[in-house]
């Protein structure tokens, strides 16, 4: 049995498209919309979330047999917010500019339903190894949507990528091309994610 067919492989690869946290499970939508105006903050946000998600999944899975069922939500919250506070300090220390741009959304990883949802739905019932893979897989699925969305919005909305001007954009401006200002604003994010869902639904269904 090859890796991609094994249980481990599926836990890792399914969240990429088929059960993508944002597009299918409707988890963690807020930050996906809010930070994707440019590629750089999207990538930083993706990395932070993946780190927090993987760590929290492993920790919760390690202590899953000791958590009393009634107060499990509080325990999850404490684990997650400690990790988020750590991530916030790291971001402030190493990428201060981006951390300013992300502002409250780093803190909002706590209430990002992906972390909570995976802890509740997966980490409490699986071994640490599987929880680690699940965390990485869901983190990757989230990162995929965020980075593609960030790239689209930056290219269409500002004519740049990673802060640098696209090649040939000046001649296009000279020919009368105008940046699509809507893309940088809130509605642009909603439309893009809506279109992604449409595309992924169409592709997934036709391949079945």
């Amino acid at each position: 049995m090859s890796f991609s067919k094994s249980k481990e492989g599926q836990v890792l690869s399914n969240p990429l498209v088929q059960v993508n946290p944002i597009m299918v499970q409707t988890l963690g939508v807020c930050s996906a919309l809010a930070v994707t105006a440019e590629l750089k903050p999207s990538l930083v946000m993706s990395l932070s979330l993946t780190a927090v998600l993987t760590c929290s999944n492993v920790i919760i899975s390690l202590i899953r047999n000791f958590i009393p069922n009634k107060i499990r939500i509080i325990v999850f919250m404490i684990v997650i917010s400690t990790l988020v506070a750590l991530a916030d300090q790291v971001l402030k220390a190493y990428v201060f500019e981006v951390s300013k741009q992300l502002s409250v959304f780093v803190g909002l990883i706590i209430t990002n339903c992906i972390v909570m949802g995976r802890a509740e739905a997966f980490a409490t019932t699986n071994t640490p190894k599987m929880a680690l893979l699940d965390g990485l897989g869901n983190g990757a699925g989230y990162s995929l949507v965020l980075c593609v969305c960030g790239a689209f919005r930056e290219v269409l909305g500002a004519g740049t990528i990673w802060g640098a001007k696209l090649p040939g954009i000046d001649s296009m401006y000279a020919a009368g091309y105008v940046n699509n200002g809507l893309m940088v604003l809130a509605p642009g994010a909603f439309f893009l994610i809506g279109l992604f869902i449409w595309v992924s639904n169409t592709l997934y269904r036709s391949s079945k």
């Binding site: 409707t26 939508v29 917010s81 409250v104």
Partner: protein, 207 residues
């Protein structure tokens, strides 16, 4: 703080930078619960209620315990200059989770009618990012206590307005022909995008 400033904060957070349509907070429960007008209404009310309660509480805790130089009232040489700001996430979420729990128990005991209307929505609220988001924004904006109350209340109203709007549109949408693959979540996103566009026409208003 004059009354005009407060009105301006209120109008800004209801219309101009609506917490849901411009700041993208509270999307998850927004997308899940906007299926019927009744659910949307209950959740909206609960959000207004919890926001108005927790944001001022968090403000008091932040400014009197966590902020740099907030601990000067403790006799001691070093205590005054300690900044506990790195604890804000942990504290805020604990305050929100516990006050939601207390509100739920109090409602059940003293107002069964209101409890049956709001009851099932309250636990959902703890993980609604709008609640934590407002607490974090008020720190970012450096509001005073009165401004915080107004900001929290009107943000809640803005959220309520948006979810009611979406629920009503979703109801109408049942009679429309939406492409098969776009049905459900995809269409909800596009609708919300159009709503956000409509709200953007308030953006030019200077108060």
């Amino acid at each position: 703080m004059d009354i005009v400033g407060l009105i301006s904060i209120a109008l800004t957070s209801i219309f101009i930078s609506n917490i849901l349509l411009a700041k993208f907070l509270g999307m998850c429960s927004f997308l899940e619960c906007a299926k019927t007008v009744k659910t949307a209404n209950g959740l909206g009310l609960a959000v207004v209620f919890v926001l108005t309660l927790t944001a001022p509480l968090n403000w008091l805790i932040f400014n009197h315990l966590l902020k740099e130089d907030a601990l000067t009232w403790i006799p001691g040489v070093e205590a005054g200059s300690v900044s506990l700001e790195f604890l804000q996430f942990l504290t805020f979420i604990a305050v929100i989770a516990s006050s939601v729990q207390i509100v739920e128990m109090a409602l059940e005991k003293f107002s069964p009618a209101l409890y049956s209307a709001l009851g099932i929505f309250l636990p959902l609220i703890t993980v609604n990012c709008a609640i934590l988001g407002v607490s974090l924004f008020m720190i970012e904006e450096d509001y005073n206590l009165l401004e915080t109350v107004v900001f929290a209340f009107s943000s809640g109203i803005g959220w309520w307005l948006a979810i009611m709007g979406l629920a009503a549109i979703n109801k109408k949408m049942m009679y429309s022909h939406v492409p098969e693959a776009l049905k459900g979540l995809g269409m909800t996103f596009i609708t919300t995008g159009l709503m956000a566009m409509a709200f953007m026409c308030f953006a030019g208003i200077e108060l």
